[in-house]
Symmetry: C2
Subunit: 524 residues, 2 copies
């Protein structure tokens, strides 16, 4: 803990036991801490407070999820299931298999793969045994899997959670625990065909999810490196300048140039040359033009990248997706392992951040109406598998990752705006009774329905009121009620009621299953 934070901590132990909130902003200004640092301190202090016991001396729990994480309630899960089904449907349509890997890896498996982002990796405590870290993405575990199993050829998808000790911005769908949906093609193939399929997949998924207009930006690391070389950037600064260029989607050129010159030590002239290139956007025509560019055409690397870019666009035309794809020289991508084509999809739509405070302690008001930014990204990484192979044997790979949390955020807000009624169960019929002492009969009928594969519920009360039973249907969207009474039992029938229209009809008991199947197959 830094001295400032410690002093702050001591002040606040007392404050938190009383009323701390109003003074937080003031203290924040006084101490010069970042919001994130304050959050961390608050969390620690609250835990400390809990351990010390509440005001009555009793142990009090801090009832929350870990910072930057959240629970999914049944409604959110229903939306999540819908989104996953769309995405998995697309992956399967393209012939992908799926694999799964453990949530943690040997620490050294992750070492040296993420450049400056490595500090965001969650480590496990050394409790004896191996040193472990939570996975940071699904790409490095995938490369480890290929090398370990000597697989040179696979088209696979992997949907799982990854972990980053980043500064969360949960209203924008940025969490410390979040899902990635990855699709990758490994294997030695003719250039740009798998690369083009990855872009086709992004196009299909974003279209199907109906998230409004979007753009897919593409570039190539070889074009960037060639451009850096021709503009006079020293070799050893390629990756760090690349990281700076990557900020252009959020920062102005002035700020980016400033960082290049003041922090990273480029001359103004070099930075300005870069500035000219990174403002360029286009399609196949731009690739053709740049192949004639007096400077870029001198770089073998840049030419290889530009030739492949042309080829890529020709395949994208066949795949009918060029209307959304943009060759953009400012696209850089943060990660170290890319070696060729890179891409990123952004939604055009702005989303309204909810006015409610963040759940987990972040200060509200820092975010308002913001662009959700990138919702998919990826590229070619031909060297990563070789880093794991004892003999350095390479397996060329290209892939894409769908940033599903941001998509969830948008879908949730859409559902809320439209006041859509999201069903969280699939129950087709409630078995009810209008009279007392019929629990046994209700359970017997429910058993018949379950055994026949009908989705059925029964209330866990001996004598529930009919009204209570009907209300349960209305609340949870159950469309049908099978009502038992003395008379129905005597007649060997069940009264089948449609909840929406209140229509009732007597159905012979032995025909009930068929009748329910007939009716529920017509339901949406």
């Amino acid at each position: 803990m830094a001295p400032v934070a410690m002093a702050y901590g001591r002040v606040c132990v007392g404050l938190l036991l009383g009323r701390a909130a109003p003074c937080l902003r003031a203290l924040r200004v006084l101490s010069g801490m970042t919001v994130s640092q304050i959050d961390e301190e608050v969390a620690k202090l609250l835990q400390l407070k809990a351990q010390l016991g509440g005001e009555d001396g009793k142990h009090v729990f801090v009832l929350k999820t870990a910072k930057g994480t959240r629970d999914y309630n049944p409604k959110q899960m229903a939306i999540r299931e819908k989104v996953f089904n769309t995405i998995i449907g697309c992956f399967k349509r393209h012939g992908a298999e799926t694999i799964d890997t453990p949530v943690f890896e040997l620490k050294e498996t992750l070492t040296g793969k993420y450049g400056e982002d490595s500090k965001l990796i969650y480590d496990l405590k050394d409790q004896g045994g191996e040193l472990l870290s939570l996975r940071y993405d699904l790409t490095v575990p995938f490369a480890r899997y290929l090398a370990m199993n000597k697989i040179t050829n696979i088209k696979r998808y992997h949907i799982a959670k990854v972990y980053r000790r980043d500064n969360p911005a949960m209203t924008r769908g940025r969490y410390r625990e979040f899902y990635q949906c990855d699709f990758d093609i490994a294997g030695q193939y003719d250039p740009m065909i798998p690369d083009a399929e990855c872009l086709k997949i992004v196009y299909e998924i974003l279209s199907e999810l109906d998230l409004g207009d979007f753009r897919i930006k593409v570039n190539d690391r070889r074009i960037l490196d060639g451009m850096f070389a021709m503009c006079g950037v020293p070799d050893e600064k390629f990756r760090t300048i690349c990281s700076t260029v990557d900020k252009l989607d959020k920062a102005s050129w002035e700020d980016v140039k400033n960082e290049m010159v003041k922090e990273k030590g480029l001359s103004e002239g070099v930075a300005d040359q870069i500035g000219e290139y990174v403002s360029m956007q286009g399609g196949m025509d731009l690739a053709e033009r740049l192949l004639q560019d007096p400077k870029l055409s001198q770089s073998k690397q840049a030419c290889a990248g530009l030739a492949d870019m042309k080829q890529l666009f020709s395949y994208l035309q066949l795949f009918q997706v060029t209307d959304k794809v943009l060759f953009d020289l400012s696209l850089a991508r943060g990660l170290d392992y890319y070696t060729g084509v890179i891409y990123e999809a952004v939604l055009s739509q702005m989303i309204q951040a909810p006015v409610v405070a963040e759940q987990n302690g972040a200060l509200p008001g820092d975010e308002a109406s913001v662009s959700v930014g990138s919702v998919a990204g990826g590229g070619r990484y031909d060297g990563l598998v070789g880093m794991f192979d004892p003999k350095g044997k390479k397996v060329p790979c290209v892939g894409v990752s769908i940033g599903i949390e941001r998509i969830f955020s948008i879908m949730e807000q859409k559902a809320e705006l439209l006041a859509e009624k999201v069903r969280t169960t699939e129950t087709q019929v409630l078995v009810a009774s209008a009279q007392k002492n019929l629990l046994e009969e209700r359970l017997k009928l429910t058993t018949e329905l379950w055994n026949a594969g009908i989705k059925a519920e029964v209330l866990y009360k001996k004598n529930p009121k009919l009204l209570t039973q009907l209300q349960h249907c209305e609340e949870t969207g159950i469309p049908l009620v099978a009502i038992l009474g003395e008379q129905e039992l005597k007649d060997g029938v069940v009264k089948l009621r449609k909840v929406a229209s209140r229509e009732e009809v007597d159905v012979p008991r032995e025909e009930l299953v068929e009748e329910l199947k007939r009716r529920t197959s017509k339901l949406p």
Copy 2:
């Protein structure tokens, strides 16, 4: 590290750089370490070796997954998907919603919930911020979720991975990272109705998965506690004696009695009285008999438990599952939080452990043909949610957890024994060509199919041989090939070939999608 282990470590650094394996067993005997401790040391030393560099001074990776974890390859995933679909289908048939919680919780959320097993919890490293642990089960996060959101009523399932630093036995399906499939009912209801539904669900799932014969043992914590009290066990020893009784499924009565007397300080007479009870098994009749038992009938707790047991069996009769359910007084369950009915399902079948060595460094030969043991377990825990509520407000809960890894192990071995061909993709058609220079035409047709929702693949080669394309179909089980050639393009048709029968027929291009849909809807 214990001194012995350290000395052992120093000896072995040298050994491992040369040939260490033959001396491991000898050292193990000399040092008195457990197999598990040795594994941990070996893992550390291998990591150390990797950091020091290999013999050629180059950095060498240890290419493995963390101890006790595994990857799932596409075949295993196909089996897993099938099992999950069965289980989720059952949960949905019973009207359950689903939720999800983060993989880690505040450390103190897990504190004091698991009794002696707490030492198996994975902690995260303190990297600043909150102290976190990986979840040990899904029940405690569920209780935390209910308390945090003030939910008093829910029927939910949750399928997710949990983490235990246990001694793995992977051939028996015991891992450190493993799935749990939990179904729980929270709410204040009439006694034993939700409890009976949990048992019905276990019955349905184990029957549908077709795993051979099984038994579901039931007991009640109140019956156990009443029995302990009446036999003369001091109150403070109830939980620890319960843990000892729990070992009866693996150990003999002699061993269990020994532990009670020698380790836990019971008198022989008390232990023998317990011994008489825990040998009893039966159905509703046993509950009725024990209600008349001179000793047990003196205990209010035992009587409450026995009366509920009678009630439970009456509901189980209505649910038509009593043929597999056994009231067994030796069933105790390890966890602290149970307060009422407890149950556990065991398969009758023995499985043959594969002869191959364990993947991740465990010594082979320690396990051979073994019973897979418990595949589902659960019970009533009425106090857990109250532990999280600031006012201690209780929410009664009952639930069951399906131990899916053991079920995977059995299904995998079954698939292997039957030499079943498991498809790992769902591709319906491969777009192929018999001649050169038709890549563009193949991509165009594939695009048409994808856009129409057909699951289609195309090889990523400019000029693949027809034989190569057909072989790909045979290997991956793709049933149909759409073949393009100069003649077909001229005639506006596609040659549609059935891979299995080699039948070919020309289909007009504009009818291809319909024809494929017609054919694939008939496929299994």
